[in-house]
Symmetry: C2
């Protein structure tokens, strides 16, 4: 029996992926670019164990057993990684130095996110990245990360970007077989350590449209989407340049414009797709007011929204305290301990349950009412960080019998 445990991070795109040119191979209609967030705050953790003795492949997701044969996306990742392992095994055997035939062993997979699904944060990117990375370690694959990213892409498109830390581009590629559609690192996390992120978890009663279904409806019905596809290449170049120059002004404006354009083509889809709600739009307004109030006229923060109402605010470290104060003032939480739990006490001991907002910023109330308590339920303060990590044996999610140590509390 061989067992490996790894974690993979969440990534939040600043140039959005929306639309596939091949739904089977998951080949996108445009390049995209994301920032990898720290696994200390948000991650997917996966343990995979391979053993000749297992009766078959089994899967536990967040403590609940699921039918692995029904998970087509995972199946793609198993097929691809097992094929590479098989080639290595065959080669070793041919050379007269056979290795363990791991590619033929059944596996047990146990995976969980350290953030509640209820938070509405996309977990498929980190989840599939953790799966592929763990499989690569389990099978001791020779492949480099970009090679692995092509496999992760077939599990969940944006998962390919979670295989790197820092700033990551997913190059759409041109080949019909997807061989050139892969992730590359634009800059490592050490390049721009001042860049931080604040995830604002926005409450929403309504079920959103799944992104898999939504993006294909956009491709088929939105007349504006064709123009977006012409706009993205220029934005990709400008975004890479902004990152390499650590130019927050350009980075922030491009990030907001691209988020807005993604939601615009969703609205131009028929029937229309909505992910932003009144709270999301209130946070957008707040960030624009905050930027307008900037003494030197420079952008101080930038929002972005994926296929859901949660805001992710990117900002230089020096502005983060003010931003947390602002959000806490205009979008107060119901439970201060929970609300501020992952803000590292950035507001100091007096933070919880008080109003710290500098007077200059309460004037925004003319355009942004203080929202109902609980519209934002939680803040997660984080930053750019590294790619997938290999954990030690003691962190395994499976016990010595290859069964989950913990199961879901029903």
């Amino acid at each position: 029996m061989k067992t490996v445990t790894c974690t993979a991070p969440v990534n939040i795109a600043v140039i959005k992926y929306w639309g596939k040119r091949d739904t089977q191979l998951i080949l996108p209609t445009n390049d995209s670019l994301s920032v990898t967030l720290s696994q200390d705050i948000l991650h997917s953790k996966t343990t995979i164990s391979a053993a000749k003795e297992y009766s078959g492949d089994r899967l536990w997701l967040n403590g609940k057993e699921e039918d692995i044969t029904k998970n087509k996306r995972m199946h793609n990742c198993f097929r691809e990684t097992r094929a590479i392992r098989k080639a290595v095994e065959d080669k070793a055997a041919a050379a007269g130095q056979p290795i363990e035939l791991l590619s033929t062993y059944p596996v047990h997979v146990c995976s969980e996110n350290n953030f509640p699904t209820a938070a509405g944060l996309a977990s498929s990117a980190s989840g599939l990245a953790a799966l592929v990375f763990t499989l690569a370690k389990l099978f001791d694959l020779p492949s480099d990360m970009s090679e692995l990213s092509r496999i992760a892409r077939q599990g969940s498109g944006s998962a390919c970007r979670s295989l790197f830390g820092g700033f990551v581009a997913w190059e759409m590629g041109k080949e019909a077989d997807g061989s050139d559609s892969k992730a590359v690192q634009v800059a490592p996390e050490t390049h721009w350590p001042e860049l931080e992120a604040l995830v604002c978890v926005v409450s929403d009663a309504k079920k959103g449209t799944s992104s898999t279904e939504g993006m294909q409806n956009t491709i088929q019905t939105s007349p504006l989407m064709a123009e977006r596809l012409k706009v993205v290449p220029g934005r990709m170049e400008a975004m890479k340049k902004a990152i390499l120059a650590k130019d927050f002004e350009s980075f922030g404006e491009l990030t907001m414009r691209d988020s807005n354009q993604f939601h615009a083509v969703c609205l131009d889809t028929f029937p229309p797709i909505f992910y932003l709600n009144d709270t999301s739009r209130g946070i957008m307004r707040l960030i624009h007011e905050y930027n307008r109030s900037s003494p030197d006229g420079k952008i101080k923060a930038a929002y972005t929204y994926d296929a859901g109402p949660n805001a992710v605010i990117y900002a230089p470290k020096q502005n983060m305290r003010e931003i947390i104060q602002l959000i806490a003032h205009y979008f107060p939480g119901t439970d201060s301990d929970y609300y501020f739990k992952d803000t590292y006490g950035v507001l100091g001991g007096a933070a919880l349950g008080e109003n710290y907002l500098p007077a200059a910023h309460t004037s925004f109330e003319e355009v942004i009412p203080v929202h109902p308590v609980g519209s934002v339920s939680r803040l997660l303060h984080t930053k750019t960080h590294d790619g997938p990590r290999v954990l030690s044996e003691k962190d395994s999610l499976l016990n010595e019998q290859g069964l989950p140590k913990r199961t879901a509390q029903v």
Copy 2:
């Protein structure tokens, strides 16, 4: 002294006007098309009196005196209509048959809307149309309606469409002087009497972006706008065809798609412009669910939104009862009498304060929660109707001294 009183209707575009190529002359970047709603429900009423004895031009809007010299849009309309009158006067004098020199008399203008400004319904279109039409009657101008529409356009772009009843196109024109940018009637109100409209007045605490400012920001900053300008000509042709064929299926889908695209380019503007709120989007969702439930798969209702959160639902008369039931169920009002006041008792005597929704439609609750009471404050049930009307002397808003009969209750 000569006094004339007229009313002009509200029009709601189904192909939206958004963007000027000339902000002085108010020349649009695309054609637009609207439906004129009945003045029995919504109108602007204007009395204008001209008298040699007046000391100067005066203006009362909704009972409050305003400085007429500061109203540039109105000034354009005075200048243009007085110039035509002057030409007529000069010609008559040259022919030895002089007429009253009304173009030289000061005027008193008194105008009011029969709908509360708080309702958030655009009043500039009906207001400026009433002004220009009343001036034309006062000055006994020889001009036809399309000629007058060019003048009204310079008061408020969409006012040009309120000079006709029924279905009205505003042709953007090509000339730099705006001489070919005018409204024309596509079909009179008698053409499709089954087409009705339901205005849902949506409560909103937030002040929206003015459309004058907003549309120029879109032209300057939205990359997607260029594509919209390519899309509109085809939509105009398809919409005219749908109207002439009384094809609600095509009319409805085009109406919804164009409303969504207008709001999409607003979102693609930087900073973004939002007019739709959670209630607006809830109504959109409801209409899509309602259409999805249609037994023959045909569209039963279509929404459209101008620069604000209010929904206007177009539908064939036969569906209106069901639509009012649906809206009343999912978006209940606080005051039944007020809420249903202008629905002509279409639900019957038992309507007020009860739940009439057919069981088949309560299943939408899975995707559309019943919204908080008061999210929609009022329904106005109306239909396609005629253009501006000349009223009798007894309807004058000015008394014999040329002063308002009523003044605002402060």
